[in-house]
Symmetry: D3
Subunit: 333 residues, 6 copies
Amino acid sequence: MEKEFITPTSGNDVPRFAGISTMLRLPLVPDPVGLDAAFVGVALDCGTSYRSGTRHGPRQIRHESSFVRHFNVATGADPFKSLRVADLGDIPVDPFSVVDAHEDIYKGARHIFQSGCIPMVLGGDHSLTYGMVRAAAEKHGPVGLIQFDAHSDTQDQQFGQRMAHACPMRRVLEDGLVDPRRMVQVGLRGSGYGVDDFDWQRSLGGWVVPAERCWNRSLAPLAVQIVKHMGSGPVYLSFDIDSLDPAHAPGTGTIEPGGLTLAQALELIRGLRGLNIIGFDLVEVSPPLDPFGSTALMAANLMFEMLCILPGVQYRPAHDPMSFRADLPPDWV
Amino acid sequence: MEKEFITPTSGNDVPRFAGISTMLRLPLVPDPVGLDAAFVGVALDCGTSYRSGTRHGPRQIRHESSFVRHFNVATGADPFKSLRVADLGDIPVDPFSVVDAHEDIYKGARHIFQSGCIPMVLGGDHSLTYGMVRAAAEKHGPVGLIQFDAHSDTQDQQFGQRMAHACPMRRVLEDGLVDPRRMVQVGLRGSGYGVDDFDWQRSLGGWVVPAERCWNRSLAPLAVQIVKHMGSGPVYLSFDIDSLDPAHAPGTGTIEPGGLTLAQALELIRGLRGLNIIGFDLVEVSPPLDPFGSTALMAANLMFEMLCILPGVQYRPAHDPMSFRADLPPDWV
Amino acid sequence: MEKEFITPTSGNDVPRFAGISTMLRLPLVPDPVGLDAAFVGVALDCGTSYRSGTRHGPRQIRHESSFVRHFNVATGADPFKSLRVADLGDIPVDPFSVVDAHEDIYKGARHIFQSGCIPMVLGGDHSLTYGMVRAAAEKHGPVGLIQFDAHSDTQDQQFGQRMAHACPMRRVLEDGLVDPRRMVQVGLRGSGYGVDDFDWQRSLGGWVVPAERCWNRSLAPLAVQIVKHMGSGPVYLSFDIDSLDPAHAPGTGTIEPGGLTLAQALELIRGLRGLNIIGFDLVEVSPPLDPFGSTALMAANLMFEMLCILPGVQYRPAHDPMSFRADLPPDWV
Amino acid sequence: MEKEFITPTSGNDVPRFAGISTMLRLPLVPDPVGLDAAFVGVALDCGTSYRSGTRHGPRQIRHESSFVRHFNVATGADPFKSLRVADLGDIPVDPFSVVDAHEDIYKGARHIFQSGCIPMVLGGDHSLTYGMVRAAAEKHGPVGLIQFDAHSDTQDQQFGQRMAHACPMRRVLEDGLVDPRRMVQVGLRGSGYGVDDFDWQRSLGGWVVPAERCWNRSLAPLAVQIVKHMGSGPVYLSFDIDSLDPAHAPGTGTIEPGGLTLAQALELIRGLRGLNIIGFDLVEVSPPLDPFGSTALMAANLMFEMLCILPGVQYRPAHDPMSFRADLPPDWV
Amino acid sequence: MEKEFITPTSGNDVPRFAGISTMLRLPLVPDPVGLDAAFVGVALDCGTSYRSGTRHGPRQIRHESSFVRHFNVATGADPFKSLRVADLGDIPVDPFSVVDAHEDIYKGARHIFQSGCIPMVLGGDHSLTYGMVRAAAEKHGPVGLIQFDAHSDTQDQQFGQRMAHACPMRRVLEDGLVDPRRMVQVGLRGSGYGVDDFDWQRSLGGWVVPAERCWNRSLAPLAVQIVKHMGSGPVYLSFDIDSLDPAHAPGTGTIEPGGLTLAQALELIRGLRGLNIIGFDLVEVSPPLDPFGSTALMAANLMFEMLCILPGVQYRPAHDPMSFRADLPPDWV
Amino acid sequence: MEKEFITPTSGNDVPRFAGISTMLRLPLVPDPVGLDAAFVGVALDCGTSYRSGTRHGPRQIRHESSFVRHFNVATGADPFKSLRVADLGDIPVDPFSVVDAHEDIYKGARHIFQSGCIPMVLGGDHSLTYGMVRAAAEKHGPVGLIQFDAHSDTQDQQFGQRMAHACPMRRVLEDGLVDPRRMVQVGLRGSGYGVDDFDWQRSLGGWVVPAERCWNRSLAPLAVQIVKHMGSGPVYLSFDIDSLDPAHAPGTGTIEPGGLTLAQALELIRGLRGLNIIGFDLVEVSPPLDPFGSTALMAANLMFEMLCILPGVQYRPAHDPMSFRADLPPDWV
């Protein structure tokens, strides 16, 4: 029997500024069973240590996502004719205690993973990755992790709290949920605490690609190296919007100068096609710092791009992303 | 058989900042049949003549309405245990032509009125009232109209367009959809075009209460007069958010100094309890001018208050709104 | 020979959001000769002592004034069929030195006053009043002054500077440009320097009406008292936008709690009809603090209202502003 | 020996926009010993249930407070020549757990109360009042409480959390820290959960003055009643900025229509002079929702006014706030 | 007889923040006759399909353009000593119907083209290009078109409307107004509707340069190719501000990640010198989304740069834009 | 005797959003004696010629700097364990006269330079550099100057004022305070006044590196050239935030398209390590144009980076900034 796909509401049926704001204008469904992948929100900011507001992230990303259309012109990916995708709404999480919130996240995530559906998480602060990866590892065993981020998030604690948003990557490694030899961090930068800030995960075998290595160049070759490194095992992607330069994503709480451009982020994500991605999150969009929703709309686009590289997504005429639709003679440079 | 009520999602089940943004956290339903009253959006701004942006109104009002709770503490109204209420989403309307848009509105409105459900419209620019009232009159015959507004909206045309947002009240009178002797306009003010700006509707029997009559006083007595004047026939309420003073509703396109306060608006709406209201709209919220959603949240509260005075809403221990919960001795002044 | 009037561009000829931003859509003319009254900008902020930005005031007020129409519906005033009015553009003033700027203002003002034209000044910080009144007194002798303001502006100096925006009212009194017995200050409030802050001008015969006297009431009776007090001599009006409460005029640099409402400001201005007004200014709008132009639009409306009470403005059927168009029975309260 | 007073930095020594932002430009001191009263921040928002951001409140209020001068012109209060006042900086509180944060607050508060100094708290979300009052009662026994607020804050729990910002007033009553017969709540309003929302505290003897009782009138008479009711025992004031109408304080997370005006707030605070106030807080200013600092500046003014009514503050020539500096004949109305 | 040039008002005569806002501080003239090139506004947003607001574009671009000076330091272009340039104000267009608006645009454009003056259009939404090109082709025959854009704008219709802002490029090709072999689109990107989104115009001979081809490189070589391709025939430039990355132009309604940088836009425009440009527009600036005018100011600069490459503009000592004023030794890399 | 270092307050002692806002959370000290380097504010905007607001710069930069940590992870610089650093507060400067302000700046700067402490200035508008360099040259003789800027700031006067913010670089050269052969200007661009705008300083031997030379490339090689050129003499750095592209620093008054990226600014600053830097400033941050503080936070980071290259700062394991922590094989490109 053929799979019945779910089509987002078209802008010619309901104008893009109208209607109920679900993610990418997909239907809201109560259960992941029968879905290949599902968007789900985690409206969390009790893990933030500086500027809060990420609890409003899922709502704002959904709101702005209504402008994203259903086909990936640049790569040929046709996700909604390849996978059954819907919006599950939000996992209700405790707003007052980051520890309790993590139990809620874990339980919600476990239900999705166990149903065989790939969760695509609208954050929320970065501490949520711990709960997601805990459930992922329960299903898949220790996973690979590709983290786009300005910060390493491997601090042991913040103000005594081991579940704060600066700590999830230490927790997932300590708890054996992530295989450190299949962990890659891209975009790290900014002031820090000492010369050994990134040594711990590197000593375990993790890759660190500081932002300085990314400046003034294409990152397509980096994606090639990462794909090679990660191999065929399960991979979780965690995209902290502050991996982008503040020029490209001002609406987040802990900005650092010298980050990725939007073009570089697209190069990287598109270049990761072929990995065995079993879940991803996009975190740290803070709507109070984003009054016109620009950062949230960029986040929605990045989530669409990550959806487009999930296993099983079909590509219409195969394109090489960088030489795509080259109407100019090859020697135009 | 007892009526099965619909309860908005509680803030203790899903935090108020989380979840999908439907109006007042009610379920989204596809059809008005079986509902007593229903929220419906009309995302229109092609009727605006100055600052646009009202097409984003329904989305933003829904978004902010998640903070409104389900019981009216001041008046004792308990709407969701009295009426079956839900959110119908938006009537899809043409974004490029105000004339075509009005056909869309009329058709959507007719379906709701004919099903016996009371529409509660999230606007959108004020021109939408024409389409709503046209459908209302088809069901109920010529209706009474109570209009809260800074502007009379009785111009014959704007830039040659007879459906512009400055014209709907002329159209509904000309077309016999509103009984001019049961028409009341409250809050009119601002610079205009001539000494006879408000004469036409008054010559037909309409009441005009300029903002100047409302300054520095309670409007509860005015509500008493209006209720007496309107009698028992069908009444449509149209609340233009610019009836409020710019201090109270900055997020709208055509602000005028000297409008109503939020307290006065509450006095008026609460005082209209008992009328045979067959529909209402709240129009002209412009989210691009309201980056923090304050005006949209006030609009959501005002719509909740209008819901609370619909026929059939039950009141817990009857309160006199002005002497409500008076712990102080009556002579405290 | 009949006077040839100047009509603002109609919103039906050019939409209100379009066209070049002159004040009230009047033509820009190079010279005051032949005009009864003229708008003129003074783009000054080097007299500000806290938050700057008033140098952008004239541009923003003009920009927003395009929404103000040409007839005063509430009062019946018909200014553009009574007086020849135009926009003179800005007096170019030195942006780096408040002392030099005042020479520029004085020279520009003198030219207007000497031509017999009434200047209507778009500020700019409040220090500009000194230059204006200096030129006014040269033409008319010591003038009466009605000042709407949160602050007395009678400090001797600020940081050693006697021309700062906290000082012009001391200067105009010291220099004999204003008759202290015909000086009225309305709206004063806020924290200060000592118990005698307002004693100096009162000892000379000035009236001080602190904001506290204005709370929770109509100010129409106050206007009656002021008109009686000022008599028939020449009067200059100076309206500091911070006389309004921050709720009503957030876009200014030195806000103080407990100011006038917009309704009260309209009551006062309309109530001053009949005075021999020889010039006025509206000062301290700060566009960087007013991103949507709401405060500037209120300022434009207030300037239109002040224009409407200039000598010679004709009123269509005489209205009593407070009982105007009373469709309700007189006993509706 | 005479007391050595502490004078805020003058605007003629350092311009008001310059210098380090301490509260009211007072010196930062490490210890409350020897002070009569001290400002102290509690940068908390892990108790908020809707829009967060109050953790930034103390910084923003200090920042904006530089515009407040040292003398109260309206009332004659001269606080800095009556009391030794300084800024203690912030009590460091756990940002991730509202329960742990309350221990921190309590410890910090206890140190201040035990030193004999009156704490004046810059919030922070409203849950902080619990920690403050706990320490107050340890020193003074059960205290009286005057709460300005849109919300009762007497919920038993939110999302299972008993320390959330909707609950502190239930906690202080349950724990016997406040004498319910000396508890007054002013400004309550908005949608709620049931007809008995305010019954619990009233059944214990508390006064509830809903916002509806405050509309369109002076609140000076209410202050008289409250002073009479509270008697001579210790009183703690808690001012939630959302007691003000959204027009007057938009920069807070949980706005409700129909609140107090700034003028009414000033009337109330000034009218409480004479009470035995042993501490106060001002809470719920949310800077991400207040980009120009207007709400924070109003908060700074209100804190200055509360300082002015502390026991021991001397008044220069005694003024009746409402008839103050009456230059107009008493019959001007 | 020598041509009499028109000089923009100098910042030393009137400070740049002062005076009436005409484009580049040029005089406002009523008629294009005698001008070589003229700025003209088209304040349109009834063609927008997502976020509106472009109707305010011309006013805001003029406002901000006062900061642009009259000489192009980088390229040596001296436009105001080469061409007679002025501001014509706005073509009044119908705000309520995109179809009627296009007739207005066409008539206004025809008058300018027929007078021999080059129009330089301040938009307004992108649908205006249809009306402009229609008039251009009437004068010049089918023109070449260089379109900077995130979107192809070759949809057949939106919501049934063939004049919407997603459609003008289909219309100009269908109507034979543009020679498809002389059509180049630069910057296309974003999600779309299908694999053949850009195939139609390519099948006719158009060039498409997707944004992906532009990432991480200089675009000067691309400009060289375009100049070669376009030849000597008439060329119309259409610059949609959303061709820029959202980091560089956030103030527009339909942002897409991965666009051009401002530096690349300057490279491209400067590199097009020598083409026979007969008109240009800059569209889609949306001031409600641009509260500080940054995007409008960038638009004003880009329009100045496009003016600088018009035929007849003289260049002071010829510069190669990329090696300009190289004080460093050529081997500094 | 060992030097006693000063450690910024840790985020684990006081959360980063809490506490008094000093620069980088350093203690406020009254005197530079005994410090190696000190932050000091100059809250000036009376030298600005377009959009004002820079007087609020020092306060906002301090406010946002609380997020910057104490170690430079990318370069290994450990400034607070190498130098004694503190915050001196602001030099009080006259807000009304740019000429008087310069005397104040000079006196304040002289005191710091004479004490042997390196001043690190938080501006303030760019005219302040004149006062700083005047004092620097008095101590060190004519200094070298590296200026990051969009504008040359070598105009002779603006509106007759020779101390305006467009003029300081002409003044320091004319007065012999800077050695023109050791002057480098990076990032110049934008429209100007004539072909010879930058000729004067070049004729004296200055280097001009226009922005066009910097596009689409790494600037590390440029830093190498500048270090070689400047030699071992004293160097003053002046960083105008508008040297950055508006995408990277929107919060400033005179933005120009095509500026440096944040990554390029970091490359340049880090590459200047080894110079004999005797002082620096960061100017033109305008908080009213930066409501979320993003530009101020970038400024704080850049000041931290400039601190990190002061003479005497120790580097933990020496890093080459561009190959730092290269976990990828060297051939990954």
